[in-house]
């Protein structure tokens, strides 16, 4: 508003100062500027209208212009692949020593055209897919231009399809790469290995120690932990638009869509169809298609014509049989359609099997058992089928859908081998995003009751209420399991009392002075905290008895992953206002405990200080409120569990101070606390707090039992 007013005033104020003789000057200026503008525009946009990408740093060249390299007939040929290679024998990790942030650096050799002595090209220069692959690598964080710093080298010689190259000459081309060195740290990509009549399951080009990312490995050619098994890319992934179809019952139970099957397999499939009728559909090549329809996109059963790959979405299970090669592009199409692949290819190493759990997305059936396939699949319950369908689709989206996805997954696998301590977890690889969202991995998942002897550290946050503080210290020091007392002195203007004035207690007492009066100082992971259990206690909580505190510690031992506290609070959904509300009345439920008096694991201090999401920590410090609510949110979010409230409700009041309860009754305070809940819920993106209806009491609490025989008799006294 202010800005627009300002402009209106400035315009007229300028104009009257202009003289008529200046008009020419302005017109000239205007023309020059206009011309310049047009020129710049031409310069800027003209070349880019040819090529959509406008990356300035990239050279624009034609494939035809790449330098030609002549390979003499007697140039060296690498050894055949070394089957005993492992990362620790054949891979030179020293080259990866420079890489920061646990990320390998990858160099790509520049593109050359290789010809033999006679000038006949060794292979087609580069395929569309390999170009895409190298582009993806070059655009990723892995890429480096500095050959001296690279840890992994990717030749630009296209090896994706062995049939498109001359084996010996390609090997010679590899051998003359500037850093070849027996292929150490070189990564070769191949999707279609072998050729007629043998169809080897790995690339036949001699490659010595080079790593092979191959599509179609068998257990005999795959070097476990060294090679990477990759999918055979299906060009249909890019060509065809296939909207996702959710899991659920489908028309056909089992479908076979492959065209070039061995007659023996086809007989088996025909027999299956004969036995199970409508539920099984076996498709084949269409023989009488009219001209102009691409054969790849149609499948036929007798005279019925089906669209491919759409028909895959009509089936629950889809057969992926071995052809001459083990790796089949149809696997990609099948996964995409959310059809569960039934892999019938003994000894086939499934794509990315090093990290992907194929049991969750596919069914492997031994070739020998092909006739039983129907009964094997029938035994899978419907819920598991839907899970597998979802998983299949997720695998396609994450690792099959584009050449880029395949390239990056391959590099990630190699990266994880070199930096195992920073490796991606099983869940990261395999869990679809929907599962990742809903799941909680409790950081303290091991069921473990810590020994009582360890004790706990009490942390008292104080500002200047020395008298009350001393009373708290005296009370807390009576608790048998207390092992240390830490006073966090949050007042920078005043020095803590002299040593001689402090109460004499049986455990070490440390005073930590803080640099700034912040509430988050209470949750700082101080080195002085040696026990796992921490008791956070305000300097005015003098009403808790020693029995109550000791019992609280015992309860924490049984629930070391939870907040175990005394005053409980509740959050409620306010339907009128459509937002969360804070509640401190006598309710039958609790979802929070106040950290004015609560036991918890010291790990949560670390989380609060270093891993608190969003700006919550700063927000709390700025508002000087709600640090306890933030802690409740944090712990509930990370563990997925509710708090434990211990012992009956007490009147938390004390004569000279505004105790938690005294303050909570204040109306504005309640509004503020409600604001906190709403703010935190929006930062966390969810409401992590769990509501429960129980609290923990000693086994014999209020039981008709002699008081003197009870372990914790003094509980609940007001």
């Amino acid at each position: 508003m202010c800005a627009s007013v300002k402009y209106n005033i400035r315009g007229p104020a300028l104009i009257p100062r202009m003289k008529t003789k200046h008009r020419i000057y302005y017109i000239t200026l205007f023309s020059i500027v206009l011309l310049g503008l047009i020129a710049t525009g031409m310069f800027q946009f003209w070349p880019h209208s040819i090529e959509s990408s406008s990356d300035w740093s990239v050279q624009k060249r034609s494939i035809r212009d790449v330098p030609v390299v002549r390979l003499p007939a007697d140039s060296p040929v690498p050894e055949r692949g070394d089957l005993s290679c492992r990362m620790h024998t054949c891979f030179d990790v020293y080259r990866c020593g420079f890489n920061p942030k646990n990320k390998i650096k990858v160099y790509i050799y520049s593109l050359k055209k290789y010809v033999d002595d006679a000038g006949v090209p060794v292979s087609s220069t580069i395929s569309q897919e390999y170009n895409e692959l190298l582009t993806a690598v070059a655009d990723s964080d892995y890429y480096t231009e500095d050959i001296a710093r690279a840890c992994l080298f990717i030749p630009s010689i296209d090896l994706l399809n062995q049939n498109a190259l001359r084996v010996k000459e390609t090997a010679q081309a590899l051998a003359q790469l500037s850093r070849w060195d027996r292929g150490t740290n070189h990564l070769l990509f191949n999707m279609l290995p072998g050729g007629p009549p043998d169809y080897n399951t790995a690339l036949d080009v001699p490659r010595d120690r080079a790593l092979l990312a191959g599509g179609g490995f068998s257990t005999w050619t795959y070097r476990q932990g060294y090679d990477v098994s990759i999918p055979v890319y299906s060009p249909l992934s890019a060509e065809v638009d296939l909207p996702e179809k959710g899991p659920g019952p489908r028309r056909y139970f089992l479908l076979s869509s492959q065209m070039a099957l061995h007659p023996e397999y086809r007989e088996e499939l025909a027999a299956l169809q004969a036995r199970h009728g409508e539920a099984v559909l076996v498709l084949d090549k269409c023989t009488n298609l009219s001209e102009g329809i691409p054969a790849a996109r149609k499948r036929c059963h007798k005279h019925q014509v089906f669209d491919y790959p759409q028909v895959l979405q009509e089936a629950t299970f889809c057969v992926v049989l071995r052809g001459a090669r083990l790796g089949q592009a149809v696997l990609s199409d099948v996964l995409r359609a959310g059809c569960i692949p039934v892999i019938i290819a003994d000894s086939y190493i499934l794509p990315f099997s090093e990290v992907l759990d194929w049991k969750r997305a596919s069914v492997a059936v031994p070739e020998e058992k092909m006739s039983d396939v129907h009964s094997i699949l029938q035994s899978i319950p419907q819920r598991q089928i839907e899970e597998m369908q979802r998983q299949a689709r997720w695998f396609w989206e994450a690792y099959f859908q584009s050449i880029k996805a395949i390239a990056l997954a391959t590099l990630q696998i190699i990266n994880d081998r070199i930096y195992p301590y920073a490796a991606i977890s099983y869940e990261d690889w395999n869990d679809p995003p929907s599962v990742k969202w809903g799941s909680v991995s409790n950081p303290l998942f091991l069921p473990l009751i810590p020994p009582q002897s360890q004790g706990f550290t009490a942390i008292v946050l104080t500002y200047d209420r020395v008298e009350s503080l001393f009373r708290v210290i005296t009370e807390v020091s009576k608790v048998p399991s207390l092992s240390k007392l830490l006073v966090v002195w949050n007042n920078q203007n005043k020095n803590p009392p002299e040593d001689s004035l402090w109460p004499k207690i049986r455990v070490p007492l440390k005073v930590v002075r803080t640099a700034e009066n912040k509430l988050s100082n209470r949750f700082f992971p101080y080195d002085e905290i040696e026990t796992e259990a921490v008791l956070a206690i305000d300097d005015d909580i003098i009403m808790l008895t020693s029995d109550e505190l000791q019992f609280g510690y015992e309860v924490w031992r049984e629930f070391p992953d939870r907040l175990v506290g005394y005053p409980g609070r509740l959050h409620l959904w306010d339907h009128e206002m459509s937002k969360w509300k804070y509640e401190s009345e006598w309710t039958n439920e609790v979802s929070m405990v106040l950290t004015g008096a609560a036991f918890y694991h010291k790990y949560f201090n670390y989380l609060y200080t270093y891993k608190m999401p969003g700006d919550i920590k700063n927000w709390v410090d700025a508002h000087m409120n709600c640090e306890d609510i933030a802690m409740n949110f944090l712990v509930a979010n990370v563990t997925g569990k509710a708090v434990i409230k211990v012992t009956p409700r007490k009147k938390f009041k004390c004569p000279e101070c505004t105790a938690i309860d005294g303050l909570s009754l204040d109306q504005t305070h309640m509004v503020e606390r409600s604001e906190c809940i709403n703010k935190f819920a929006s930062v966390f993106g969810t409401m992590p707090l769990k509501v429960v209806e129980h609290r923990a009491d000693p086994v014999l609490y209020k039981d008709d039992f002699p008081e003197k025989l009870k372990s914790f008799p003094n509980i609940g006294s007001l």
Binding site: S62, V363, Y426, A696, V699
Partner: protein, 675 residues
């Protein structure tokens, strides 16, 4: 005129700004050198003729790669599909036959045989078996073993050897699988062979020592690194090491060290284990101690690597990058350290702490291969309580188990089934049925009628369906996984149990927060009886408890499956013979799975006046066992489990406002307030 001038002025200003914006940026780009070599290609070029590039495969090439007949078996190499005949394993799942030992056997062999024979897979008939287990001859005896009678080229055989075989085998392995301790990666056939851990001679048969970890996070001041040395010793390196402590070349840089005499467990956060042969024993030690194993280029396959995700419990690092590895260990985030430490303990307890567990895990892996799609999902193998205690036959979906709700983001179903064990009672327990049916959470009532008299034809009218199941006379039948049970929660009751609706409601709400535990009303506690040198238990009210009576307790229906299908038959027979034992057995079972105590909820004292004393909960005629037999039962159970799984608790969960000085009208569970 003036307006035109004004406009032109503004246009000029605007245009000049545009010019600056458009013109200056590229100039700036040019001014700042982006590459050391001018004109060098940057990144991968965007080819002008990308559109013209051919696809890597010719159209149709991907679809028709030339048909080829099914492959013949390749000599020498075996994989699961080719060399194992699963058709023998139809029906009963995995049935294992063990060749009996001939002549004197070593202690280790005896233990292996005992653990297979005691397992749920064992069969006495070689013809019925789908897996034949052959113990590899002891390396000490140089005798030539004859080829076993059912050998058949090794098909469906598993050759088990707990020590890596240094000498060539006396007969050809053929198609047999090999389960060998720490096999070398070069000979190991993934998905066919099984990698075992190298067990020390004195490894216990059953139960086994618990993990050493006493707290989740490392103790402050504990050494960062311990290095495996010869003879099972550990060399604890200080935190101020400067370089590679495992490299002989920088021996002098080791920093302060203490060397522990003898084979002790390391006390450090990370345990460095060189990857060569003799150090494998260290691996299990580190695991037991909760010291995160850092394996330096291991030449051997990690145990059970087919199913265990070792990246969650150990770090396989490259020995050639000492500084990087050390830096990475030092800088490892606390969260990861915590997770790794806890996982070592879970794995140790679940799969390695006894010979029995190692053998069962091996057989479970082979059974998983046979099961194919209905095998254990990875989650069941890699999170507590582990795959031996999580039976995949129960359900294919982890969210049906009581253990994985957090990971799955699921929760147990919101209703329960009341299962009333009729005992020898002749009359339907009307009051109890009314009280239970009155609960809003009750889905059904099942009465297990096991009296000789026929069940009465008239049952009280209830809001929920009531089904009478004709039970057998055996006490263990009350824990049979009846298909009629349709909910996750079971409220197990005796005919003479006395409960109020409020109590049932509250207990169920508590159970929903702890679906893996038992939530009960009446408790027992166990203790070590010095005088008798054994365990004892008492029903006296004390300040702690470790068992809840199944005459009134909530628990997950999965425990019925586990009770019936996973417990050794001998233990169930024991429970049938001494019926009070069945409570002990159920509590042992749940505690050994959860490693946690059960949960006690309030129980009105007025019930107890109207019922027999709690030690005889079986009702008239069934559980009047004399005390000594009952006490003996807990010791027999402890022997059967190999350890004492019970854990004591000192707390009871009450409603939030329980007996608080506030109006009763505010309280949800009012009737619990009765004195």
């Amino acid at each position: 005129m003036q307006s035109w001038r004004r406009k032109s002025l503004w246009l000029a200003l605007l245009a000049s700004w545009l010019l600056i914006l458009l013109g200056l940026f590229p100039l700036l780009r040019l001014a700042v050198p982006t590459s050391p070599r001018a004109g060098a290609p940057q990144g991968w070029p965007r080819w002008l003729d990308t559109e013209l590039l051919q696809s890597f495969a010719k159209p149709g090439e991907l679809l028709e790669d030339g048909p080829r007949p099914p492959q013949a078996l390749r000599g020498g190499s075996c994989n699961w599909g080719a060399c194992f005949d699963t058709s023998k394993c139809r029906g009963g799942g995995l049935k294992v036959f063990v060749y009996p030992a001939a002549g004197p056997v070593s202690e280790t062999r005896r233990r292996i045989l005992a653990s297979v024979e005691g397992s749920r897979y064992h069969t006495l008939s070689a013809a019925e078996a789908c897996l034949l287990l052959l113990l590899s001859p002891d390396t000490s005896t140089g005798e030539r073993d004859p080829v076993p009678p059912q050998w058949d080229g090794g098909r469906n055989h598993l050759v088990l050897s707990l020590h890596p075989a240094p000498c060539p085998r006396t007969f050809q392995l053929g198609q047999a699988m090999v389960a060998e301790a720490s096999p070398t990666v070069d000979t190991f056939r993934p998905g066919f062979d099984v990698a075992l851990p190298l067990l020390p001679e004195a490894h216990p048969l059953r139960g086994g020592a618990p993990g050493q970890l006493r707290q989740h996070s490392p103790r402050p001041g504990v050494a960062l690194l311990a290095l495996a040395e010869d003879g099972g010793r550990w060399h604890v390196a200080g935190t101020d090491f400067s370089a590679c402590p495992w490299d002989g070349r920088c021996e002098q840089d080791r920093g302060p060290k203490q060397t522990h005499p003898g084979a002790t467990l390391p006390n450090a956060t990370f345990c460095l284990i060189p990857g060569r042969g003799p150090d494998v024993l260290h691996f299990l030690q580190a695991l037991q101690a909760g010291c995160i194993p850092v394996l330096l280029s291991p030449r051997w396959e990690l145990p059970f690597s087919e199913v265990i995700d070792w990246t969650k419990a150990a770090i396989v690092a490259d020995e050639r990058l000492p500084l990087q590895v050390l830096t990475a260990l030092q800088e490892m985030p606390l969260t990861r350290v915590l997770a790794l430490r806890q996982q070592t303990q879970f794995l140790w307890d679940a799969y390695f702490s006894s010979v029995e567990k190692v053998i069962h895990t091996t057989l479970e892996i082979i059974q998983d291969r046979i099961f194919g799609p209905s095998a254990h999902p990875s989650l069941l193998w890699n999170s507590p309580p582990g795959a031996i205690l999580a039976l995949p036959t129960f359900s294919p979906s982890p969210s049906d188990f009581p253990f994985y709700h957090l990971q799955q983001g699921s929760r147990p179903l919101g209703r329960f089934s009341a299962l009333i064990w009729g005992g020898a009672l002749g009359q339907p327990p009307l009051k109890l049925i009314q009280a239970v049916a009155g609960s809003e959470h009750c889905a059904q009532i099942l009465v297990l009628w096991s009296s000789e008299k026929p069940p009465p034809t008239r049952w009280p009218k209830t809001a929920v369906p009531l089904t009478v199941i004709d039970g057998h006379r055996k006490v263990s039948d009350r824990f049979f996984p009846y298909s009629a049970i349709s909910t996750d929660a079971i409220l197990s009751l005796d005919a003479h149990s006395s409960l109020s609706t409020s109590e049932v409601d509250f207990a169920f709400v508590v159970w929903q927060s702890f679906p893996e535990r038992m939530v009960g009303f009446l408790t027992w506690s166990h203790f070590w009886d010095e005088a008798r040198g054994g365990w004892g238990y008492t029903a006296k009210r004390t300040n702690e408890f470790s068992m809840v009576l199944t005459s009134a307790a909530f628990y997950h229906r999965y425990y019925h499956t586990l009770f019936t299908h996973a417990l050794p038959k001998a233990l169930r027979t024991l429970a049938d013979e001494a019926p009070t034992c069945v409570d002990v057995l159920m509590n042992f079972l749940v505690a050994s799975v959860t490693k946690l105590p059960p949960i006690k909820v309030p129980y009105g004292m007025w019930h107890q006046e109207a019922r027999p004393p709690p030690l005889e909960p079986g009702g008239p005629g069934l559980r009047q066992e004399p005390q000594p037999a009952a006490q003996n039962c807990i010791n027999q159970m402890a022997a059967g489990f190999g350890h004492m799984p019970l854990v004591s608790s000192r707390l009871r969960l009450d409603p939030v406002l329980f007996k608080d000085p506030v109006s009763v009208l505010r309280k949800k569970y009012r009737s619990l307030e009765k004195p």
